[in-house]
Every structure is written in C-alpha cells, then in structure tokens.
Amino acid sequence: MNTQTTTQADAPQAHASERAPEAVVEAKNLDLVFPTNDGPVQALKDVNLTINKGDFVSFIGPSGCGKTTFLRVMAALEHPTGGSITVNGMTPDEARKQRAYGYVFQAAGLYPWRTIAKNIKLPLEIMGYSKAEQDKRVEQVLELVELSGFGGKYPWQLSGGMQQRASIARALAFDADILLMDEPFGALDEIVRDHLNEQLLKLWARTNKTIGFVTHSIPEAVYLSTKIVVMSPRPGRITDVIESTLPRERPLDIRDSQEFIDIAHRVREGLRAGHGDD
C-alpha cells in the first residue's frame, strides 16, 4: 500500500511530463476475419488500443486470442477487415516503407550461411545502406545486445539465447522506433529468459524504443511492461488493459514485491474472466 501512496503523490508531476503523450499506434474498432475452410474465423473483434511513444506493451492471452495477429496487423503482415489502425499517423504499409519498426520472431531465423555480422547487415543491404554505414551500425547493435566480438561467428556457433539476441540486433540495425517482438524468448529456458528479459529492459531504457511484446508468460509480461494488454479468444478481443505502476528501473528481485504480485494477480484474473466465456 505504501507504493500506492507514493504513486498518488507523484501523480501531478508525472502528469505534467506526460500531458501530451505521443500516440505511436492507434487502433479503432479493429476487426479481422480470416476466411478458412471451416467458415470465417474472427481473429480480432472490435479492438481499441493506443500505444504511446516509449511504452513497453505486452500482449498476453491464450493461443488463438489474436495477440500475434494484432502484432502482425501493426507490422502490415496482416490487413484488417474493419476499423482503422495507424502507426506513426500512417497506415501500417506506409510505416513499413518508412522503416518504422523492426520485427523479432519466435525463432531467431538467422541465415546459417551468413556470419552474425552479415546477418545483421541483411536489412541494411536490402535498404541500401553504404558499406561503411553497415559496418558502423553492426558494431553499434552488437554492443547493444552484448555480443561484441561475435560478429565473425556463424549462428551454429552460438547458443540459442545468443542467437535470439543477434536477431534482436538485426531488428535494431536500421534504427526503427518501434520494436515488435512475437514471443521472442518462448523457445528458451527460464534462466536464459530471465537474463534476456533483464537485458531487454536495459536496451529499452538506452534506446527509448516503443516495444510491442507478445508473450504467454504472466511474470514476463508484468516484469517487462508499462502496459499489459490482456486478450481472450473466440473472438480475439481485449479484455483488460493494465497500466503498470512499477518503476521503469526494475531489478530482477522486483518480482518478489507485493506490487508485482498484485499486478500479476490482476492479469491472471483478466485471463480467467476471458476464459469464462467458453
């Protein structure tokens, strides 16, 4: 309860600095229906969400709730069948051409025939950066994900966690403001995952990116996020949006604090409520 009062006391100040938070993503009444052989499937129904600049937003929910689909809509990999969505005030397709976001998939997906450095150069080559600029950026992002010195290695020479860090570096290389991550640590063991979560928060603090993060782990969502979007399936929709009261600076042991446990509890309640429908 102590934290609650401090938040209250800080509130006016906080408000002053966040008076006009800059909306990066705005979804209004978003619908997406996939046609399938068994009839249409409503992947997203009436989704309304605003993501502000610098937010770390987690999407959590059971499989089929549309969390990945929503991320893909933001990235223009899927196209909504109703409602509207803007990224940086543009359509997702335009935003992609402006290199507004980097996308990290569940699998690292590094090219085995390229070294780590050459893998990171992949988007830079496609986007037509000069050789010198490519080298400079590779150095920078390798340092950001703590992989300096590994540029000359091939993917198979790295552990799973290191490969995923390299794939994050690849997404960061062209300086997109938005980082979209689809269960990036889902295939890794818990110890590695904790370590990567900690690193990701540091990276977020240093780079000031806006991050959209899909997960099905409650502790991961609570630990990382400033905003937790709880979703439920059939049809995929948002059941709760939780603004985290945790400070931005988060050591790993914050997960034992009462505040953390309270937020995790609310997420769990939201997930349970969503499931009650079916």
């Binding site: 990999l77 992609r96 051409k97 996308y103 090219y111 025939w113 496609i126 062209f174």
Partner: protein, 305 residues
C-alpha cells in the same frame, strides 16, 4: 574398421555369386568346345545336352567347371575376365588408341558434361520461373513430368535425325539427349529448394520491404543449395546415361555407347561388360566429385557441420 569389413564381406558375396552364376550360364558352350576337342562329355551329343537342365550338366561334368570362367566368348564373363579386359584396354593401351577405353570414355564424358551444363542451366531457369510465376507452375511442370515418361531410347533417334536434317551433328545431338534426361531432377529439386524458406523467413523479408529479386538472391537461392546438389548428383548420372544412349542410334565409332554396340555386334561379351563397368566407374567418379564439391560448398556456407 568394422563397417569396412562388413562392406568387404558384401562385396565378396556378390563376386562369389557372380562366379557361381558363370558355371550354369556357360556350361553348354564349354561342353560343346570340349566335345569338338575330343574330350569325353556327358551326355555325348550336343542335341542330348540341349534337353538337359544346366545343373544336371554341371553335376555330370564337374571337370568343366573351371573352364566356364576361361571362355573366349562366354555368355557371362567371369569377374577376373572383365577386370583383365578393363586393365588391357585402359592401362596397357595408348590413350589415343581407338581400342583404349579411356579414349572412348573421354568422348562420352565430353558429351555428358556438355549435356549436364545445358540440362542444369535449363533446369534452374525453369525452376526459377515456376517458383515465381503461377502460370509457369501450371503450364511447365506437367510437361516436364510428361517428358520423362517417353522412353529415351525411342526419342533419341528422332532427336538425332531431326538435328541432322538441320545440319547439326557431332557432339551436340548427344549433349541434347543428355540434357533432356538431366534437366528434370534439377527442376524438381530446385523448385523444392527455392520454396524451402518458411513463412517466417518470408515475413521477415517483407518487414524490410524487400523486393522479389532481393528475396531470391539473399534467401531463396542460398536456401536451395542442399537441394541443388542432390539434384546435380542424380542429374550427372542421368547425363551419362543420355550420352551413351545418344551414341547407340548414330552408329558412332567412338564413345562407350559405340563400344557397347560393337561388342554386341561381334558377340564380344567381355568387351560389353568392360564397357558397362567403365560407364559405371565413370558415373561413380562424377558423383563422388560432386559430393566432394557439395561438402566443401555447404561447409563454407555453414549449412553442414
């Protein structure tokens, strides 16, 4: 070491079976020769022997068994006869001699390699088209499959006649028949290889707004390499087959196919068998060479540790 011994055992079993098979295959011929030479054979006349089973003949004339492996024109030559013939016509002959198998092999090899290059190039081009164009996928692929159902032995003379009538002769008709056989495995393998990147890989490139050409050079082509090499190994063996078949209807005087044909005209079974073995050894060497290149390339590409 243990596997080496096992392989050796299997090889020994094959050779032993071959020697054993020579006995009933050749016994009649041996006995006819022996009878003409004045030897005592059971039964005594060729007519009576014709009505007897070969195993009965072997049982009644055990003295003739060793000779079934030494005939001049046996129905089935013994392994050592083939090996001796191979040795005589490769190592013991000048390479330029018309009787050297090495000379004939290099004639066939030239057509094989030319056909392999044409076939592989065509195969890759078709695969690229098929992967990128739905129309090509639906129109070319069925024809490619149908083309392989026509027996090449029937088609080869037609190709040669048609090409001859427009003034093309020599190595090119052989190479074209060889290419006809080798393009198909390359098309099938490369279509699969170029389509091997998964949806996630393709989505990743989409997030970079990469165009089709970039996707091809940076992702599809490198991903297809293991498939390409598998196809090439099948393709080169098919190429060699095509080149040999291409030599048959032309009445060619040089090449392994010509050697086979001449052998069968004159009943020189030992010559036929040694030409067959030369072709098999050549195919083995070509495939082994491709395997070596595959190993080096894939290792350098980090796709095989």
């Amino acid at each position: 070491m243990k596997t080496f011994l096992s392989v050796l055992t299997v090889l020994a079993a094959i050779v032993a079976f071959w020697y054993a098979a020579c006995v009933p295959m050749n016994i009649k011929g041996v006995l006819d020769t022996a009878e003409r030479g004045g030897a005592e054979v059971m039964p005594a006349t060729s007519k009576a022997r014709r009505d007897m089973g070969t195993f009965g003949l072997v049982a009644g004339n055990t003295f003739a068994i060793a000779q079934t492996w030494e005939q001049d024109r046996p129905r089935l030559p013994a392994p050592h006869q083939v090996v001796t013939e191979l040795w005589k016509t490769t190592v013991m002959k000048k390479l330029t001699s018309k009787r050297s198998l090495v000379y004939h092999a290099q004639v066939t090899l030239k057509a094989t390699l030319m056909g392999f290059v044409i076939g592989t190039g065509l195969g890759i081009l078709l695969a690229v088209g098929i992967v990128h164009s739905r129309v090509m996928d639906m129109s070319v692929m069925p024809w490619a499959i149908v083309s392989q159902t026509i027996p090449i032995i029937a088609l080869a003379p037609m190709i040669i006649v048609v090409l001859y009538s427009i003034g093309v002769q020599g190595i090119l008709p052989k190479a074209i028949i060889s290419a006809y056989l080798s393009f198909f495995p390359v098309v099938v393998g490369m279509v699969k290889g170029l389509r091997s990147p998964d949806a996630m890989q393709l989505d990743l490139l989409k997030t970079y707004s990469a165009n089709t050409a970039q996707g091809f050079w940076k992702l599809r082509l490198p991903s297809s390499m293991p498939y390409l090499f598998t196809s090439l190994k099948i393709g080169i063996a098919a190429s060699l087959l095509g080149a040999i078949v291409g030599e048959l209807p032309t009445g060619a005087v040089s090449g392994l196919g010509a050697r086979l044909l001449a052998g069968s005209y004159y009943g020189q079974t030992v010559q036929i068998w040694s030409a067959l073995f030369a072709a098999a050894i050549l195919a083995g060497l070509l495939v082994a060479l491709l395997e070596l290149i595959e190993k080096i390339v894939l290792k350098r590409m980090g796709m095989q540790q």
